[in-house]
Symmetry: C2
Subunit: 408 residues, 2 copies
């Protein structure tokens, strides 16, 4: 008998008929002898409907009120799913963030889970009930409702799985697993059977949208195996778990591309120790996260530094004035922005033991005539910034070049 957490996203509970399917699947799991905790998102479209109401009132709604508003989406779906389990003859109860006691910090609209109590969940499980937890939501110390930000239901599910020491956390979604790369971009993309937490973390960070980064971090920290699978069939999906020796055969496990960042190019900052540090410290003050950073020194009469970095396009409008003020203060003569860029990344534990993976990546891109604007690497990841128009071509040629496709 296992203790199973099953998370269903907005599409999976997007209609009454789908909610019935969720209930049936949960009951089938229970009948196999398992104890079942469901974590549900809002019905698809509902969060946007609520946001639109708020936007009608004010362009920048108060974050605390936004969370009180948005959290109703999951409250509705958790109650409906509990009713559906009952309608199918099972026992169930819904639990909200404040009822489970999903305690978060007070950062409205992007709160982080601090602790989760297991008492309310086990009390219901011990009565033979299927527990339906409203995902995405918690309460801060003062009892204010908080939300974890978009996609936060994955995080809720994994954190709850960790708190109750579940054997597995099934993430049911509208795709049937984690793919080597986006199948819409690369038709030969292949479903990955098993992937390590570290690799999944890199892929999620790099724009693979199947799992929230934060949920993978928690799964890794508490060693909760996560099973990403389709809510529309019973096929096995992708198991995300501790590093697995059998994976070592593949050098590159996944490829991701991400067009959400813009490139900022700052020329002429004084080439003195600490100038770059000051620039990024002051940008960080504004809560803007900078990703790739490249610095060159132009050795002219007066040595000046050229710094290139990337940051979310979404933040660019509000950040521009601040970046320019800061950069000018540090002597910058020129600041350029480029939003037509994409970050293409390869990820794989195998890179640790295989030399030359970076060189092979650069060669594959060069063969396609794709210029690399910036590079960043980690132990198991290499990212290249390229012109946005080349993103899909880069993904496909890397997928072929590293022989990641289906075996046929």
């Amino acid at each position: 008998m296992a203790l199973v957490v099953q998370k269903y996203g907005g599409t999976s509970v997007g209609s009454i008929e789908r909610i019935r399917n969720v209930a049936r699947r949960a009951l089938a799991t229970q009948r196999e002898g398992h104890r079942v905790v469901l974590v549900v998102s809002a019905m698809s479209g509902e969060t946007n409907r609520l946001l639109a109401l708020a936007q009608e009132i004010t362009r920048v709604p108060d974050a605390r009120e936004m969370d009180a508003l948005a959290s109703t989406g999951e409250q509705v779906s958790s109650a409906l799913v509990a009713m559906a389990v009952q309608a199918e003859g099972g026992k169930a109860r819904s639990l909200l963030g404040h009822q489970v006691r999903v305690r978060t910090d007070g950062a409205f609209t992007k709160a982080r889970i601090q602790t989760i109590e297991d008492a309310a969940i086990f009390e219901a499980l011990n009565l033979g009930e299927i527990v339906v937890v409203a995902g995405f939501q918690g309460v801060d110390e003062a009892g204010n409702i908080t939300t974890l930000g978009r996609g936060g239901s994955d995080t809720s599910a994994v954190a709850i799985a960790a708190a109750i020491r579940a054997d597995v956390c099934d993430i049911f979604t509208d795709v049937d697993g984690v793919y080597t790369t986006d199948p819409n971009v690369c038709p030969s993309a292949r479903k990955i059977e098993r992937i390590s937490f570290e690799e999944m973390l890199e892929l999620a960070s790099l724009g693979a949208k199947v799992l929230q980064i934060r949920s993978v971090e928690i799964a890794m920290k508490y060693d909760v195996p996560v099973h990403v699978r389709s809510s529309f069939n019973n096929e096995p999906g992708t198991i995300v778990s501790k590093e697995d020796v059998s994976l070592e055969g593949m050098v590159v496990t996944g490829i991701a591309s991400d067009k959400s960042e813009a490139r900022v190019h700052v020329v002429g900052i004084h080439d003195r120790p600490g100038a770059a540090a000051e620039l990024f410290e002051r940008i960080a003050e504004k809560n803007i996260s900078v990703d790739m950073i490249v610095q060159n020194v132009i050795t002219d009469a007066n040595p000046v530094a050229a710094i290139t970095f990337t940051m979310p396009k979404n933040d660019l409008a509000r950040a521009k004035a601040w970046i320019e003020e800061t950069a000018r203060g540090l002597g910058a003569s020129q600041i350029r922005y480029d939003e037509d860029v994409a970050k293409v990344s390869i990820v794989g534990l195998g890179m640790r033991s295989h030399a030359g993976v970076a060189a092979q990546m650069f060669r594959i891109l060069a063969q396609e005539g794709i210029n690399i604007q910036a590079i960043s690497t980690s132990e198991i990841k290499i990212s290249c910034l390229v012109a946005a128009k080349y993103a899909e071509l880069a993904v496909r040629s890397l997928h072929d070049g590293f022989r990641m496709g289906k075996s046929d």
Copy 2:
């Protein structure tokens, strides 16, 4: 400086534009120097939308889950109203039932308020905020969300006003006060300026829908003056407060009619002590509330009793089998039901000191050829059961007969 509770019903927050009006009115009250607590219903239509979702899943949704579902309606409107106050330049925060700690019993879908804490409300008021409380909802001892039943937002508002010792509880609604009778039935109906708690309680019990009975009970118990007024204009409405000497001039204050009850006629119950008691005890076991009761003994060879009583039509379907089983067990030979009845009632503190009011009522009805099927009275109320088709005629003729109309 007064402490004011303002309650806005579903129509008053039925659109974003109306929500803005609520915010402006609350701010105007605050600018006059008052501290303001709003209690809001769900946007009109929202509760029905949620009910329809539940009905799609199951004809009889679990009461606990129904409350978790339905309470989102007020959560949405309270957050939107708080946002609207902020958008107008004010300070505000929404508070839910579990945040205020509106503690109720555990009777889901029709819970009764037991205690309300004032700390969270005063904390916000002391910061200069307008507090927006989600009406209709509370939590039971175990932390489950409960609702007070349809119209429960009135009760929330008055109970909160009592808990924080507010100077007045304004009930903003889509009518501009309490009328001597339904103006749709009787064009000469007149808005009442002041009415006592006792009279309002009788009128509310008798089907005048402007205030929930429970809210009047609480207002009377804690002596909270209630001001029923229109959310669409600034005219004074009707003040419901302690008995007022100036009212004594009018014998009859209001007339109500109610078609929601059915008449049950039971013939042949053994005429022995306790037979009628047993019938009504057993009906009460099933939580069916019986209203008017008339008993006659038919003096035949064997004396048998004929008992007539009224009960909600809504309960009739589920109650019939139980009533018949019980009545047959007590010797009943015949049980008849009549749903085409109406209860027409006159209410007034003046009846206490004026003799002959009942006789006058019966005479007015007789003059119109209206047969009275049953009568029940209290110190300040007389109700007559008549054929449903005569309800409107009865109301108009009583209104004229007791000279309650506009003076012109």
